[in-house]
Symmetry: C2
Subunit: 292 residues, 2 copies
């Protein structure tokens, strides 16, 4: 569409700065789920167009990332987007609308459920390591190893002396990934308790949304304060320079989708990407093609 370039406005400062959680103690009560930091448009009306307008640049950068992965699999860069948030916060919506801007060939998507019997036989990071993005790929984790300090902590699935060590283990794991060339973008989709209630009620009003409703969501909802405490702990303890946390206000779906798309665009734009050199003699190959 000819309007795309006009619409591809950049925020006045990098979105990573607007959304980056400051180091130190975190209080969820201080983080506004309905804010729209860095949003360069007018509001809901232009958000879908602004998000779609990011598509061409995201797509071009992703192709360069993919190309470099193909030509040099060992040292290749990768991106890992980690999506966490309470039920209804919109992890699926972000994947559909923001990650949907990317060529499916460039994505390694994993949705982590309750661990299987096989997964439970291993360390909690085993299945995470198995799902890491390949060379030149953008990995997307719909839930992640952070569930091992969220539901696992709230429901006491392992004793405190086990889960309390995991923050340091996770930091060491993520530092290792970052050192190996993976850009880690951790997004906490911050939905309010009131908005969650409205979204759950909406699913029960609409037969085309029944499949998204799970009675267990209400049980988790009843433990909201314990979950917020668990989020505060992980946001404080695992907010490192190698793998920073971004808190995305998620009460406005249109803002949430735009913000994650812009964060992905900015991440890709900040990587030292270049087109791989030819691994063959270009003139020789031109002659071979011409003669074929």
């Amino acid at each position: 569409m000819s309007s795309s370039n006009k619409l591809a406005k950049a925020p006045s400062k990098p979105i990573s700065q607007s959304l980056r959680l400051p180091r130190g103690p975190v209080s969820m009560a201080d983080l506004d789920p309905s804010a729209t930091p860095g949003y360069p448009g007018k509001g809901k009306a232009d958000a879908a167009a602004l998000t779609e307008a990011l598509g061409p640049q995201v797509s071009d950068l992703q192709e360069m990332l993919y190309a470099s992965g193909r030509s040099n699999p060992e040292s290749a860069q990768r991106v890992l987007v980690v999506l966490q948030g309470m039920d209804t916060s919109g992890k699926g919506g972000v994947i559909r609308h923001a990650m949907g801007l990317v060529d499916p060939q460039g994505i390694d998507l994993t949705a982590f459920k309750a661990p299987t019997e096989e997964e439970r036989k291993h360390d909690y990071l085993w299945r995470i390591r198995n799902a890491l993005p390949g060379a030149g790929k953008i990995g997307i984790f719909d839930r992640s190893h952070y569930e091992d300090v969220l539901v696992v902590r709230v429901e006491s699935i392992v004793p405190e002396d086990v889960w309390s060590k995991r923050y340091d283990e996770i930091n060491a794991f993520e530092a290792e990934l970052a050192a190996g060339g993976t850009r880690i973008v951790k997004c906490m989709l911050n939905v309010s308790s009131d908005e969650q209630k409205a979204r759950l009620a909406e699913r029960l009003e609409d037969p085309t949304k029944y499949w998204k409703y799970n009675p267990g969501d209400v049980d988790a909802r009843k433990k909201w304060p314990a979950y917020m405490e668990a989020y505060e702990a992980l946001l404080e303890k695992c907010n490192t320079d190698a793998a920073p946390w971004y808190v995305i206000p998620a009460d406005r779906k249109w803002y949430r989708n735009w913000a994650v798309a812009e964060l992905l665009r900015e991440t890709l734009a900040g990587m030292p990407l270049s087109w791989p050199a030819a691994e063959f003699d270009v003139e020789v190959e031109k002659a071979r093609v011409a003669a074929s």
Copy 2:
């Protein structure tokens, strides 16, 4: 965009009828790679918009397919899109532009390369079975088991008495999948030898495309007649009602992308999809949410 509905024109007859290969002997020489059967627009100028205009319907249907897969994993329907074609025919372009219309969560994409050591220890269909789409998913095969009667036949990687039995084996395998609820859409992207030559030359003129060029492509190109013979055999022998072959003219990229997107839309629209019923008492849950 408000223009989408206006642009979402349907072809005058189902695209599956325009592209379905008739039963019987096949001559590649009779199939025009630059034709545009069933295209409802003016040409290249409106093709990207016509393709994008399919997005909302494809997306809605895919969500219903996905929902039914979530609620009934055992009996769920699935779709399997098989993409075959000579180098440069545009398998990657189709995935980017046509399959890119679909929510990444709904896709199971596999690109088959030369078999690994592990894969070679098993029957040729072993890795194919491992990559079949999950419940409610759209599987995409970038190359497939048809390589086992293409490169394997042309390069005599196994003896003729082995590969010649595979056509029947493949038909039996695909009939089994179809009976189990998988809609199989096999697309042969038909690029001409001249157009392939032009595309290879183009890659050598543009440093941002060097990574797509492989000197081995010229070696395969020199065996063009043998590949066409192998395609004729599989198009004739494996063109079944359970798993029909569609030959997509692929010299015009804009037509190719639109045609596969429309074929996917039509396939989804022809499936008996419905939103799953609630597996809980809706009124009880409304009260639980209200009280939470």
